[in-house]
Symmetry: C2
Subunit: 467 residues, 2 copies
Amino acid sequence: NGSDKLLGGLLASGFNEESCLSRYQSVLYRKPSPYKPSPYLVSKLRNYEMLHKRCGPGTESYKKALKQLDQEHIDGNGECKYVVWVSFSGLGNRILSLASVFLYALLTNRVLLVDRGKDMDDLFCEPFPGMSWLLPLDFPMTDQFDGLNQKSSRCYGDIVKNEAMDTEKTFSYLYLHLVHDYGDHDKMFFCEGDQNLIGKVPWLIVKTDNYFVPSLWLIPGFEDELNKLFPQKATVFHHLGRYLFHPTNQVWGLVTRYYEAYLSHADEKIGIQVRVFDVGAGPFQHVMDQISSCTQKEKLLPEVDTLVERSRQVKTPKHKAVLVTSLSSGYSENLKSMYWEYPTSTGEIIGVHQPSQEGYQQTEKKMHNGKALAEIYLLSLTDNLVTSAWSTFGYVAQGLGGLKPWILYKPENRTAPDPACGRAMSMEPCFHAPPFYDCKAKTGIDTGKLVPHVRHCEDMSWGLKLV
Amino acid sequence: NGSDKLLGGLLASGFNEESCLSRYQSVLYRKPSPYKPSPYLVSKLRNYEMLHKRCGPGTESYKKALKQLDQEHIDGNGECKYVVWVSFSGLGNRILSLASVFLYALLTNRVLLVDRGKDMDDLFCEPFPGMSWLLPLDFPMTDQFDGLNQKSSRCYGDIVKNEAMDTEKTFSYLYLHLVHDYGDHDKMFFCEGDQNLIGKVPWLIVKTDNYFVPSLWLIPGFEDELNKLFPQKATVFHHLGRYLFHPTNQVWGLVTRYYEAYLSHADEKIGIQVRVFDVGAGPFQHVMDQISSCTQKEKLLPEVDTLVERSRQVKTPKHKAVLVTSLSSGYSENLKSMYWEYPTSTGEIIGVHQPSQEGYQQTEKKMHNGKALAEIYLLSLTDNLVTSAWSTFGYVAQGLGGLKPWILYKPENRTAPDPACGRAMSMEPCFHAPPFYDCKAKTGIDTGKLVPHVRHCEDMSWGLKLV
Ligand SMILES: Nc1nc2c(ncn2[C@@H]2O[C@H](COP(=O)(O)OP(=O)(O)O)[C@@H](O)[C@H]2O)c(=O)[nH]1
Ligand SMILES: Nc1nc2c(ncn2[C@@H]2O[C@H](COP(=O)(O)OP(=O)(O)O)[C@@H](O)[C@H]2O)c(=O)[nH]1
């Protein structure tokens, strides 16, 4: 089925296949997506690719633009404008924020450049044909990235606060602080008037750990374009994620080997992503209870028969493979023991698998993030997905997979909530730290109530998501 | 394929199938054994079953025989003689010693009765039709079983030592101490003359943790009969084990559920039984090295390619499922990581599975032994088996499976031996504590050099095994 290896035109053809096997092989592991990219999105991407090739690292335009960085203000207009995504936070957060910044680049005709941080280049292939998306290692500001914060000079929020924006002159660069701890002035980024000022600046340096796409839909100047790009609104990350994030061959080896060895033969694959934000060492009983309760109530997994001593005999029993991802091994071990020790009430055969048990978050270890990415990807290959509230790790899996997950609601006071989980409205990620500001009226407003397609999230009452 | 569910006549027909599903279902999970029981063995078993029915618990004969226990010596000859197997030691040891005592019962026309200990009745179905093999709970000596040792009154070795055997009179019972720590006088059990004396005693109480079958072949009076029973000499435990040991429905559920969920779809199943007798908490690096070295050198598992970053593409790659059993989870985790992180040089797909990780030997926990038995049984269902030197757990698996294992030689000084493993000569268990005595010449002798079919073991130089 070579016809859809470009995912309905989403992917550009002509890449070297060997150098990034996942790009065209993913179609062999996924069910075809029911969501097709719009022709407008496809042509926008092809245009972006040309822009990227024209302005990317090493081009004359790039060299010219680099020179502007030496001055405080620019004179005249350069050919290319850039947005630099700074590597920051956990893997899930990075993937979501990078997709957000890419969409922002599409909307503002900027060229996206990616700070590789510790391992972005080990994890992901180049997404654009013929020109790297990686910020060159000799970019003059790279060593300042770690220290960037609200107090940094040229931090846009700080400039707004000090009313230091000179509308006659244009800064050579601005730093946009869109990290979850940002302030009201930083959030002015989401106002149309501010976008007009920011739009002139050739270099934007962005540090964010958020999927801020939902709030872009609330900026009037972007609305039309977004509607054309995504007539199915809740497919933004689904398409952009599949367009941008192709695991490198090393990570793809982790994905495919695990898939073939443990999942491929099952009639149905269930993903369960367990992310516990409680302090203290798990596994926690209330989380185990929550997992069983959710999967059984929602009929994702069968109940077990603790009284009958023999397996129910079924002619050709259905085989379900459960893929559990978690930093702790306890949850999968518990589930595995349960389905080993007792027969299922339906006669179904349940195998439980967990790829890695890293014990704790080790964002600096290379193979650790490779395994984390492989697990996200494996979750995205399942038929039904259960995720944990608040976790961007799960958001990425659901988006890539085109899956509306069942969300395990966040336990409070070490007690499993009732109901244990609920079905998500859409497969879109949740924006955890949206602004609540009416730019015109200059007053607070509930941004989750303005339009029907931007709502509060299922797992975080103040978050925003596309539905 | 109902035709061979009786395993070539080894099993009696007419049992209630529901009460012990494993008895007739095992044939669905095993390849047919290339070893057929001799017609003589089959008829001997049918005769034994009649004897057992006639003399078993609750019968008139049994009641009569019980009465004899009150006296020191018996007068006249009872209709039935008994051998009571006392529950003792780990599960593997128990299975092997019970099979040995059963063979002894066959050779001496005794009725075998089984002390259920903590859990024998939870683990095994009744093997004989229409009459229990379990020693009744009200057997008068049961509460003395735990304390039986070389110093016990009526311990045969002790009687020999004190020359207290009165050839004119016959004791009502004797205690046979055949535990690994037994002495030269206890070992007189293996002399023909002593067998003649012992043969008259109506009740024998045996405590043993040994597979003493090889030395029975060296007793001239048993030789002819054994040759007729087992023309293929190295099939004794294979046949007797399959005849006697049918897991209960609860344990069978553990076997079949695990098999279906994790092993059944593979093209080839490899069992690796890891038993480490070193003190200290594993996993040990030298044992991990030994496992990789053995499985790769013997071409049971492929090597991995640590340099190439992408999986070798093979049209229809072979899928091997590796079943690891061990008290520690480290060895299987190590193997699993290796085959996850790197592609195999052959393109084969390797899945690694470990049912339980109990951490340490917990012989008193019910489900623990149920899981241990299930694991032994699962190992016996593999196509190729790697076992650990000295472990009776592995011996049982190889015997039930009809498999000549690769034995991981015992490491010395925490160093992996070279070669790491070697192929066993036969599938028979090793007798760990055989006598070295020439009963006629009344002198020491190397009993491993007397006949070609009783030799020293591969994994224990002083042990004896049938080949
Ligand atoms: N391998 C693996 N790593 C995990 C898992 N859950 C969390 N992590 C690690 O913890 C980090 C969590 O950060 P992030 O991906 O941003 O997800 P979030 O914190 O759940 O929103 C990941 O990047 C991983 O390094 C898991 O299930 N498997
Ligand atoms: N479940 C399980 N238990 C084991 C394993 N290895 C040892 N054990 C436990 O330790 C005991 C070891 O005693 P035994 O079966 O006589 O084997 P041996 O000591 O290796 O000869 C077993 O009965 C089990 O209770 C294993 O791989 N799996």
